[in-house]
């Protein structure tokens, strides 16, 4: 096994071991923290597909995170008040079933990613960063004033949604669900990276003109990567909403986009487990530093700065050395 392999295994072992220990020791809050980390990791795994593999620096992934969140919020809200959406015309019933909510979240965010990607991929470099940011801001301001679903107040869902055969109100069971989904997303992105599609993406990031010369459509591959990326982040949004039992426009804010990007960079761009390491480290820092001082953002900033300046390749790069990514 490579050094990166050891680091990844240790990470997985911790993500299984720590919550189990917390469950036995009766520390439900540790499980909540771990769930938060795993959901953020899932969102970042989504971004990493676009960012690491496709070279698409999106500062608007909060759009998909938020759409996933609102898919959950709106469906569960209508189930909660027993009144359908568009009562006069379509009369779509709400639902409290997680699989249905996930499907809706994935489809909606994939659709949004398709439209945003189609428009944004006309640009490159900084322009791409900024146009994705602009789409994020549009959704943010729209939801703030969208009074039908709470506007800035957001939507509260009183009871966590259900999954067949599980009691999602028990922290460890909900955690297991999120962990399984993260595993699935990691498996998917490993597969994509090794597939001909992934290889083409990688090639079109590094030498776009050669890919075009041999008759492959690099743009179309990037768009597909962006759509899959958005869909995974959307799924994470639905889970995050269920973790908090609450959605609000802050899920769309540019800070959220920035944080998802931080998870990826912190862990190591284009490394399979980079987003996981980044999200775990970030949640841990938030928790530990927050207790040190009222001004803990200063320390957080200093740590982030230190990692960019002195640990290129993120935490995984630091621990596993300058190995190449999963290509």
């Amino acid at each position: 096994m490579t050094r990166e392999g050891y680091v990844n295994s240790a990470l997985v072992a911790a993500l299984i071991g720590v919550p189990l220990w917390a469950h036995v020791a009766g520390e439900p809050f540790t499980i909540t923290l771990a769930t938060r980390a795993v959901i953020f990791a899932l969102a970042a795994v989504g971004l990493n597909l676009a960012l690491g593999l496709g070279g698409l620096v999106s500062l608007g992934h909060a759009v998909f995170f938020g759409i996933g969140g609102y898919a959950m919020g709106i469906l569960a809200y209508h189930a909660q008040i027993y009144s359908p959406m568009f009562p006069d015309t379509l009369a779509i019933e709400g639902t409290k079933s997680m699989p249905v909510i996930w499907l809706v979240a994935i489809l909606c965010s994939a659709l949004a990613a398709f439209v945003i990607g189609l428009l944004s991929l006309r640009t490159t470099g900084v322009y791409f960063i900024m146009i994705t940011l602009a789409f994020g801001q549009m959704f943010y301001y729209f939801t703030i004033s969208w009074s039908a679903y709470g506007g800035e107040d957001g939507l509260s869902i009183y009871i966590r949604n259900s999954f067949p055969g599980l009691n999602t109100l028990v922290p460890i069971q909900f955690y297991a669900l999120c962990f399984a989904l993260l595993g699935g997303a990691l498996w998917l992105s490993a597969r994509i990276a090794r597939s001909p599609f992934g290889l083409m993406l990688n090639a079109s990031r590094q030498v776009p003109h050669r890919v075009e010369t041999v008759g492959l459509n690099g743009q179309r591959a990037k768009l597909l990567a962006f759509v899959i990326s958005g869909a995974i982040t959307g799924l994470a949004g639905a889970l995050f909403a269920d973790l908090n039992r609450f959605v609000s426009p802050t899920m769309f804010s540019w800070h959220m986009s920035g944080e998802i990007m931080i998870f990826v960079i912190l862990g190591g761009v284009a490394r399979l487990f980079g987003p996981v390491a980044g999200a775990v480290l970030f949640v841990a820092m938030e928790h530990v530093l927050g207790d040190l001082s009222d001004y803990w953002h200063i320390y957080l900033g200093a740590v982030l700065l230190g990692i960019v300046l002195f640990a290129r390749g993120g935490v995984i790069g630091l621990l596993a050395g300058q190995a190449k990514g999963h290509d």
Binding site: L51, V57, L59, L119, S120, R122, T123, T124, G125, V126, Y127, I129, M130, I131, L133, A134, F135, Q137, M138, Y141, F142, I144, S145, W146, S147, W254, G258, M261, I262, I265, L266, V269, Y295, W296, H297, I298, L300, G301, A302, L304, L305, I307, V308, L309, R312
Partner: protein, 306 residues
């Protein structure tokens, strides 16, 4: 709606645009010359406002406060350029975004640790306070007219600096071919520090000027930063002319959109929901505009075609 009101709103849009230009000019210079995305530019704006409020509080002189704000902006800019930013020129945009995002966190909470959590007070100078009556009977705040004039003067000065002076030639050369001008014996490190400090000083100036009619508080830089990015992206990154045009377009769109969109919706809706929907749409207007511009011209209005 009367013609007077429309003229007044156009002036407001102009003033807003000119202030955005002060922010955008620094950002676009820094990007054009060094290829760096600086998210911490809004923090320099905030530093300018805080220093201006402090100096004005101590000395009572607005002029001194503005000078101090520019100096503080330039000094803070030079300091972070030499300690942090310099190491980022050869990295990709991703690292720059993260590092300057980290700087925002440090500056914001650092300012709060130093100055406390309560907003500070910075007054307009007595000479410029109150309204003035313009031809046509328009009453308009004197200070805002002064802001328009100051902004235009800075724009002119910047154009002269870049088009007519030796350092301007170096800056333009730096945008095109940095290896070459280094080979010609220009001290590229000093040039970069100078450009960064110049951009930072402009941000500090904007903070001081705007701080006098707004609230000086932690986090004030972020909304302006995002708008400034919209400006330079619309104008074309690296282009001072683009930043100027973009700033005016954004300033006018934002102001006039907020005024006319609700009026437009009132034509066919009941007033209460028309104002609400109009307001929602106008808050999205500049982002819609930016997306539209980029779809039409992917490198902005005056950007370099690739």
């Amino acid at each position: 709606m009367s013609a007077i009101l429309i003229v007044e709103q156009v002036l407001n849009g102009l003033q807003f645009g000119v202030m955005l230009f002060l922010m955008a000019a620094g950002l676009t210079l820094i990007f054009g010359v060094m290829g760096l995305i600086n998210l911490a530019h809004g923090s320099l704006y905030m530093i300018g406002a805080f220093i201006a409020a402090t100096v004005a509080g101590l000395t009572g002189s607005f002029l001194l406060a503005v000078v101090a704000a520019m100096a503080a902006g330039a000094m803070a800019g030079a300091l972070i350029e030499m300690t942090v930013i310099r190491r980022l020129y050869h990295t990709d945009h991703l690292d720059q975004v993260l590092a300057t995002f980290a700087l925002i966190l440090i500056f914001s909470e650092g300012t709060r640790a130093l100055f406390g959590s309560f907003p500070l007070y910075l007054d307009t100078p007595a000479l410029l306070s109150g309204p003035v009556t313009l031809p046509g009977g328009i009453e308009y705040p004197r200070y805002r007219l002064a802001l328009i004039a100051a902004g235009l003067a800075v724009a002119l000065g910047l154009w002269l600096l870049i088009a007519k002076t030796r350092i301007g030639i170096q800056i333009r050369a730096g945008e095109n071919d940095r290896e070459m001008i280094a080979a010609l014996g220009v001290d590229i490190r000093t040039l970069y520090t100078f450009v960064f400090a110049l951009g930072a000083a402009l941000a500090g100036l904007a903070g001081a000027l705007v701080g006098a009619i707004q609230s000086v508080q932690v986090g004030m830089g972020e909304p302006v930063l995002i708008l400034a990015f919209v400006v330079i992206v619309i104008g074309g990154i690296g282009s001072i002319k683009g930043a100027f045009v973009g700033a005016l377009i954004v300033g006018l769109t934002d102001t006039l959109g907020g005024v006319f969109l609700p009026e437009l919706f009132k034509l066919f809706m009941e007033p209460a929901s028309a104002t609400q929907i109009g307001a929602s749409l106008s808050s999205m207007a500049i982002y819609l505009l930016m997306a539209a511009v980029l779809i039409w011209r992917p490198t902005g209005l005056f950007g370099v075609r690739t």
